[in-house]
Symmetry: C2
Subunit: 645 residues, 2 copies
């Protein structure tokens, strides 16, 4: 091989040494190259079996060596780059504006990935040192997907130029631009038998540490940190709606440890039912699983549980599955997946009936006890007790203590929304004068600008001819010009003539101030808070990163002057897995897709491939993508593991 | 394709229809088959690129369809067989002798896999519903291998013909042949704030459940179970040697949850050290990891930890790794891996110095405190305090409460060994008259038969000519005949002339009773209890299964009469991973291998492949084999995950 390539080089250099290459000379090179290329490709003439095998083995060997070489070279380069950038960012410490981001969830991570680290010094502070792919938690809770598949270390996600500190932020001083962190007051806890204190910490942390007995060695001193810009992306907590017994006896499904506990509890229930001397009644109770909440989390968990029972547990416990297992989904409204299209709710309910999942609609859970749930049907005053084993509580969210603390610090008269921090349309927290605090994700709500508040100004601006009335053209201009600022105007965008005709009751062809008011108030009523979804948080995170990257002057608070566009949410559709290799997708309201294809709500087996490919592409890194694909194949071939630990 | 095969069938049936097939007619068929086969193989003549691609795609398609078809057919058949066998074994309930096996570890599982279920009704009782591949725990504790890779559900391991019940055996009645199980007295525990009681249960269970807060729904009533034969394979507990503070502040490395906790604690230590305002001293303390015990577990854990630090943590915490991380291994003897060859100990110590693992030899741990260990050097009376973060305690084992309870029930005068249940050479527990209880694994010790006790009888038997003295030939016969019963005679087997000459001090060519006594007493001194390893337990498990399968009459206790051979341990060598892709293997004393190859202690990179392939083949199922291979590749490509949950 060496001699051949040496020959090629020699031949080419001979040709080249003539200096003046004419077209004719190029023709001289062609056959040389062709002859040499022929050596790499198929040999002419008849090939023996041994010859072909040899050639193929050689090819495999060359490809393997080249592949491994590329892989190790790429890794070595990446490591070098990583260290280089890390020391680089250490050198510039203190010379740039500092952004502190609280959180490592769906809002914070997209922000951290898109922020310009050449422009800012960025520090991320969060008690959870990994990003969690929350939509896959129902899969994790039954073992379809493993725990480490759905998490990625935040340090590897955000790269070497951003600092991460594992700490709880407990206080904020917006005047001094200072946050105070004290990871869990560990230094105040006397160790030894004071197990309760440790347990309460672990509870407060949302179960962020499994080392309840043995985390004796850590110290986490309190510290303060200055910021120039603070981004609050701390997410939300489970909302029990003050239902008694939920904290003590129900499982949540929000963090990774919840999923682990549920998986363990399912296995525990079956092993308990297999204990000799159990009565039939007790077996039925032990194998009755109750899911409270018919949103995507509750529906997906019930679906995954039904899959686990049918595909794996039936194998090991055929009698129990045939006679005693029962899954019940309790929903307070009259439909599951009520945020989706009606067709999808109906489909899911029909599908659940086929999967033997009982759905109790219009049912309120009044109390969760150790071995039962107490429910009340709508319109009835009677309380009914349902004996059951595991209760999974997936109803809703509420603001975290830190969010409420920030609201109090700013003033509850301004921060009047109990669900989270009110922000303007640039996601800046209301009531912070210098605009230095942003809030994104579940802990934030954009305060809607009401058209009715500025009706006079809007009318005057639109009435270009000062005739005290607007014609259709002027109304259209008004809507088009203001839709960015007032997203509620979107309801008119497609049927502006109809809206105009409806408002113009006397058929004069003009709108007066009062008829305009009536039509705009109707639009104001359509204002809804953005849903607390990963999709919203992720778009908000990207938006704030882009906004901060564009910002010419951090201290100027007039963003309109700087030609910065306010945040606009683009709905891409909702989807949920409903079990038995079927999924439902709802593209209603997702403009980008609806404009190109006329997509209606999708359901069934085709949807599950869309569901899978969506989550596959959503996984942040090559590592998690590989693990997810492997997990799906593994579950398909080997089934789910039922070991309890 | 259809027409072609139709043609083939037609042609063949034409030939066949002639009824009387002669040799000549067979010749007629040959070219037809050949021609049709040619269609499947390579086409003659020159092949175009498109033609070849088409052919190859077709091949890929055919292979894929055939492969998937085989896979699904095989799975469907397996499922059918599983249910069939399960209902089959249900039908024969109560008609066969019942064997109850306590445990799901290295002793119990090989027994359960080899027992003849046609002959016995077999029930397995254990609080842990999975088999744990204990030698891989050090790998799990740093994330080289994931948790679910090293466990396999016991239900899937033992198959449909053996019943498994998840329960704690708490008492045994050898007279009534009855065991009492009460899983964890849960029914006695009042729930609610009684967190301490629950915690103490979880502690007692060896951390078998992670659901400390939320396992409110289970019930595990007490039950009794009759047995005909009982096999005790409950294993052992960690031995703290009454060192103060170990239970409270040190990590063990024996169960899966220990490994999980350690992994979490390592990450926790690094995150703590990254907290601002930590002093240099405190950083050094937080990153000082101490391993107590220089046996295989301690050495492998230290090695894996060093790998984790060098390969992954260095990437994320370059400064901490360069300045502050320290790993110390504390060993009470003057060598690590003291049960292995001296060369291997030396090699490991040299290797650990290169890996920056400090080894403190001749050092005793007197106390473990919250943030330090107190040690004492051999020959010194001074106590020294070493500040440290995590302490991993891997020193030794002791008997479980159930083992001690059985010893008490039988009588401590017979069961005088504190390490476990004394058995005879058929592994039957001493002091049980009907021989109905066997003990295997870590909880059992074979009571050695001492030659000195029967010296008179042995001498008389060997002295065939009644001359009051033995010549070399008679001594040789004695050794060969009795080596099965008295394994300690093996020390003579290779150099019997030397032993004879040494004992025969007056060179008379004969041994008298007193010289024979002196030589046999020397042999008795060589008796050692079998090590508490997976290898021993596994061989004992297989042995008992084989024994019970051969047994013609369960109630006859004279096994010698039934020509049953006593248990003999075959040492296959020991091995340990020492980090940096190096392992050590010691084949000393492993006869089968030493006889064929002259294998010396192995160490270094070649050994690691042997180490890996050994564990790969040891994995019980295709599932765990696949997962282990995947984990190794994943760690190599993506590194270990440092998320803490």
């Amino acid at each position: 091989m060496l001699s051949r390539s040496a020959l090629l080089v020699q031949q080419l250099s001979t040709v080249n040494s003539r200096r003046n290459l004419s077209i004719k000379q190029l023709h001289d090179i062609k056959p040389i190259i062709k002859r040499n290329l022929a050596w790499f490709s198929n040999q002419p003439g008849k090939e023996t079996f041994g010859g072909r095998l040899k050639r193929r083995l050689k090819n495999v060997f060359v490809v393997t060596v080249a592949g491994l070489g590329t892989f190790y070279a790429y890794r070595a380069y990446n490591r070098y780059k990583w260290f280089h950038e890390m020391s680089d960012s250490d050198k510039t410490l203190g010379t740039k504006q500092r952004i502190v981001v609280l959180g490592t969830g769906w809002g914070a991570v997209p922000l951290l990935k898109h922020i310009d680290t050449n422009k800012y010094e960025v520090i991320c502070v969060s008690p959870r040192n990994y990003f969690l792919m929350t939509p896959l938690l129902p899969s994790v809770s039954v073992g379809t997907v493993e725990t480490r598949t759905v998490i990625e270390s935040v340090r590897s996600l955000i790269g070497p130029r951003i600092k991460y500190i594992e700490a709880h932020c407990v206080n904020i001083d917006p005047k001094a631009k200072l946050i105070t962190c004290n990871t869990d007051g560990d230094s105040n806890v006397s160790r030894g038998d004071d197990v309760k204190a440790i347990l309460s910490i672990s509870k407060r942390e949302g179960g962020a540490s499994s080392r309840i007995i043995k985390d004796s060695a850590r110290t986490r001193p309190q510290f303060d940190m200055k910021y120039d810009i603070l981004v609050v992306a701390v997410g939300s907590e489970n909302n029990t709606f003050n239902t008694p017994g939920v904290e003590e006896h129900a499982h949540f499904l929000k963090e990774l440890l919840d999923a682990r506990r549920i998986r363990s509890a399912i296995s525990d229930a079956f092993e308990s039912a297999m204990t000799p001397t159990q009565t039939v009644e007790e077996k039925k109770r032990l194998l009755h699983f109750v899911v409270v909440g018919g949103g995507p989390t509750g529906v997906e968990f019930a679906a995954e549980l039904a899959d686990l029972v049918r595909e794996d547990l039936q194998h090991y416990f055929p009698r129990l599955v045939a006679n005693d297992v029962k899954i019940t989904l309790i929903e307070a409204l009259d439909h599951v997946l009520s945020m989706m299209d009606k067709k999808i709710s109906d489909y899911t309910e029909r599908h659940f009936r086929r999967e033997n999942i009982e759905v109790l609609m219009n049912t309120f859970v009044k109390e969760v006890k150790q071995r039962e749930v107490v429910v009340q049907y709508k319109g009835s005053t009677e309380l009914k007790s349902i004996p059951c084993s595991m209760v999974v509580w997936a109803t809703g969210i509420k603001a975290r203590p830190l969010t409420n603390k920030i609201r109090e610090i700013i003033g509850l008269n301004i921060q009047s929304n109990r669900m989270g921090l009110l922000t303007d349309r640039y996601l800046r927290v209301k009531g912070v004068d210098d605009g230095s605090i942003f809030a994104i994700g579940d802990c934030a709500t954009i305060q809607p600008a009401k058209l009715a508040d500025r009706i006079q100004a809007l009318f005057e601006e639109a009435d270009t001819q000062n005739r005290g009335a607007l014609d259709l053209q002027q109304f259209r201009t008004l809507v088009e010009k203001k839709v960015a600022e007032y997203p509620q105007l979107e309801v008119f965008s497609k049927k502006i003539e109809d809206a105009f005709a409806e408002a113009d009751k006397d058929k004069s062809g003009y709108l007066t101030l009062s008829t305009l008011r009536s039509i705009l108030e109707k639009a104001d009523q359509k204002i809804r808070a953005l849903p607390a979804t990963a999709q919203v948080a992720s778009q908000e995170g990207r938006y704030v990163a882009k906004l901060l990257n564009q910002l010419s002057n951090v201290h100027s608070t007039d963003f309109q002057q700087q030609n910065l566009t306010p945040f606009q949410y683009k709905h891409m559709g909702s989807l949920a897995y409903v079990g038995g290799d079927e999924a439902v997708l709802d593209f209603t309201g997702s403009k980008p897709l609806l404009d190109y294809f006329d997509l209606k709500p999708l359901s069934g087996r085709s949807a599950v491939y869309l569901w899978k490919s969506f989550y596959f592409t959503e996984m942040f890194t090559g590592r998690t993508k590989t693990l997810l694909a492997f997990d799906w194949v593994r579950t398909h071939i080997f089934g789910r593991d039922i070991s309890r630990y």
